[in-house]
């Protein structure tokens, strides 16, 4: 069997497709943003992403490969072979899968290699990698089964490729049936039942691909169906139905991760991160250092800033989350915590004009604090911002003498505190 397997691997038309698979894998891994490098869960999701492109290509190639018996008109000869048909199918499918999995594995190794230096202890999360494997196995199996069942010489590859592409992309839109993720974070984890259901679906399609004989007698090696073939095929189909049902009742693909012992910096204020996000610590510590230089006596700074998910939701409204690796994205949460701790009383304003004045003062204060904490003006690729605030002008303020800034801030704080209540 092993010898036959290696012959299949050597002779498979997939050997011509393999460079394309490899190219697509590495392009899909490194062609997008690079912020995932250095964070294990992010790197795992990134390594899984190429599967969504490799899968459909593999489906087309598998359909082409599996159609060889019909294409070459060898149906009767294979039916007369000494070995049962499913063994031939299994070996051929295994060879196809070997090429797909090998390309996928190269991407995984590359993702791990570029991540290991910055990320520290830990490794790629197997859950995301298995999710990608489910896509690859499922697509290859779907292509194989269509290529084997159809007597057409041109349809199966193109239909398999385009249809699996459609299915993978479309299911991605749905929360409960998605087979892949587009990004990840340390605060999320893949649920066990969802992962198992997806793997079950993929391997059930693989069982169908190997075991279920085609209904068209002329395309079927051996001509008639033996009871054992019917039994095996029926079992495979039943397994597929069970797997689809388990997918329907499984948990959502990802849930909030159970909190772990956080990685906390020293000093006051300090920050507590998910350990996987440790590569951001030096930059966040620089932000904390800038927070310590805020004008004394004007602001109340919380003693610890938490990354989202590390403590219960109720207390963590202003907990930060590093979005797409941008540390600018966490400064609004820092600002929110500081402003909320500084101004603890709040009442509805007496009239609309006073309300507007107060809101504007809040917005300007937020903008100034963001710039101070980042030690820079807002970068050009960050869009949006509070309405009615000249972000650039407030950003320039941080370069003016400290006394001038204190005066400016005091005005805003006074506006907020002295807003007449209704």
């Amino acid at each position: 069997m092993t010898r036959i397997f290696w012959i299949e691997v050597r002779r498979s038309p997939l050997r011509w497709v393999f460079p394309l698979l490899l190219l697509v894998d590495l392009a899909a891994l490194f062609g997008r943003s690079r912020y995932w490098i250095g964070v294990w869960p992010q790197a795992s999701a990134a390594a899984q992403i190429p599967a969504q492109f490799i899968g459909p290509i593999l489906a087309g190639a598998a359909a082409w490969t599996a159609g060889r018996i019909n294409r070459r008109g060898l149906t009767d000869q294979t039916g007369a072979a000494a070995r049962p048909m499913w063994q031939a199918e299994l070996v051929q499918f295994a060879a196809t899968l070997t090429y797909g999995a090998a390309a996928y594995l190269v991407g995984i190794v590359a993702a791990a290699a570029v991540t290991v230096r910055q990320a520290g202890p830990g490794f790629l999360w197997p859950s995301y990698l298995l999710l990608g494997l489910a896509v690859i196995v499922g697509c290859a199996a779907a292509g194989h089964v269509f290529g084997r069942w159809s007597r057409s010489r041109i349809w199966p590859p193109v239909i398999s490729a385009i249809a699996s592409f459609l299915l993978v992309g479309w299911l991605q839109e749905s929360r409960s049936f998605a087979f892949g993720v587009l990004s990840a974070g340390p605060q999320l984890q893949v649920t066990r039942s969802a992962l198992e259901a997806r793997l079950a679906c993929a391997f059930a399609v693989a069982a169908v691909a190997v075991l279920v004989p085609t209904l068209a007698p002329r395309a079927r090696p051996g001509g008639y169906l033996r009871p054992v073939q019917l039994l095996a095929g029926g079992t495979a189909l039943a397994t597929l139905l069970w797997a689809l049902q388990s997918l329907a009742v499984a948990d959502p693909l990802r849930v909030q991760r159970v909190a772990v012992r956080p990685l906390c910096s020293t000093g006051t204020p300090n920050v507590c991160l998910w350990p996987e996000d440790r590569k951001y610590l030096p930059e966040i510590e620089a932000m904390l250092a800038r927070i310590r230089t805020l004008p004394p006596g004007m602001f109340v700074v919380p003693s610890t800033f938490f990354e989202r998910g590390l403590r219960e939701e109720r207390r963590g409204d202003d907990d930060f989350e590093v979005i797409e690796g941008s540390l600018w994205s966490i400064s609004p949460n820092f600002v929110g915590s500081i402003v909320n701790a500084t101004i603890t009383t709040f009442c509805p304003a007496a009239d609309a004009a006073a309300e507007d004045r107060r809101t504007h003062a809040y917005f300007e204060l937020d903008t100034w604090l963001e710039a101070r904490i980042n030690g820079a003006q807002r970068p050009a690729d960050v869009h949006g911002g509070p309405p009615g605030v000249d972000v650039a002008a407030v950003g320039r303020l941080i370069d003016t003498p400290e006394q001038q800034q204190i005066e400016w801030v005091r005005q805003r704080l006074t506006t907020i505190r002295e807003t007449p209540c209704a």
């Binding site: 038309p13 697509v24 997008r32 992403i49 969504q52 290509i57 070459r72 193109v158 459609l166 690729d381």
Partner: protein, 231 residues
């Protein structure tokens, strides 16, 4: 004239024209259902993904299938066909591409209106030409290879950092955008050249320019078998 029609019917039967074009029509008709499905795929954009409606990719399948009807079970014999067969093939490939474009136009006009209809027909034209190049290179059965291969770069790299379609991303451009029509014209020229690049023309070219590279006997036969041995 009657004889000519009988030839046509025989040609159509050998190429399973009716079956293939019916299939292509069915796939185009599936646009009514799946055309509006949004696919969210990873992409090199600012957000890391892009959402494309499937109607933009469907013409690739329709065009690839229509052109794949150039394959016949007598492919090897047809490689040596004479003027008459060449004439049929020329009419066939032009009809196949135009039929794909017309099918996409009709399906899109019925589901999404005249604007997307023009874009869909244009996409079918471009992918049909790509299918001709692919069919000439790898054999007509594999005419889907090039059209399907374009999907990855189009989807993954087809949008800029801000998510706007790049100029060469023809499926995601409106029907009145000029660049995709230029692409369509260019791909028509390339496809015409590829269609003319028959094995015997290549052979003749080599005989004139590199006579030493030709094996003394049986070179043509080996070439046909080698290029047909991709399954």
């Amino acid at each position: 004239m009657l004889e000519r029609r009988a030839d046509w019917l025989r040609y159509a039967r050998a190429h399973r024209l009716v079956g293939t074009l019916t299939g292509a029509a069915l796939i185009a008709a599936s646009d009514l259902v799946v055309g509006a499905w949004n696919l969210s795929m990873p992409a090199a954009t600012g957000t890391g993904f892009t959402v494309v409606p499937f109607r933009q990719e469907l013409p690739a399948a329709v065009a690839a299938l229509a052109v794949a009807s150039m394959y016949s079970t007598m492919e090897n014999l047809e490689r040596m066909g004479g003027m008459r067969l060449r004439c049929f093939e020329r009419a066939h490939v032009v009809t196949a591409i135009l039929a794909a474009a017309a099918l996409m136009w009709t399906a899109e006009a019925a589901t999404a209106g005249p604007g997307p209809a023009g874009a869909g027909a244009r996409s079918a034209l471009i992918w049909g030409c790509a299918a001709v190049v692919s069919g000439r290179s790898f054999g007509w059965r594999l005419s889907w290879v090039l059209p399907v291969s374009t999907l990855f770069p189009l989807i993954y790299y087809g949008h800029g950092h801000d998510g706007a379609a790049r100029w060469w991303n023809w499926p995601d451009q409106p029907a009145n955008a000029p660049v995709p029509w230029l692409l369509a014209a260019a791909s028509t020229l390339i496809a015409a050249a590829a269609f003319r690049a028959t094995p015997w023309r290549g052979h003749a070219l080599r005989r004139v320019h590199w006579p030493s590279r030709l094996a003394p006997t049986g070179a043509g036969r080996n070439e046909v078998e080698a290029s047909n041995d991709n399954g």
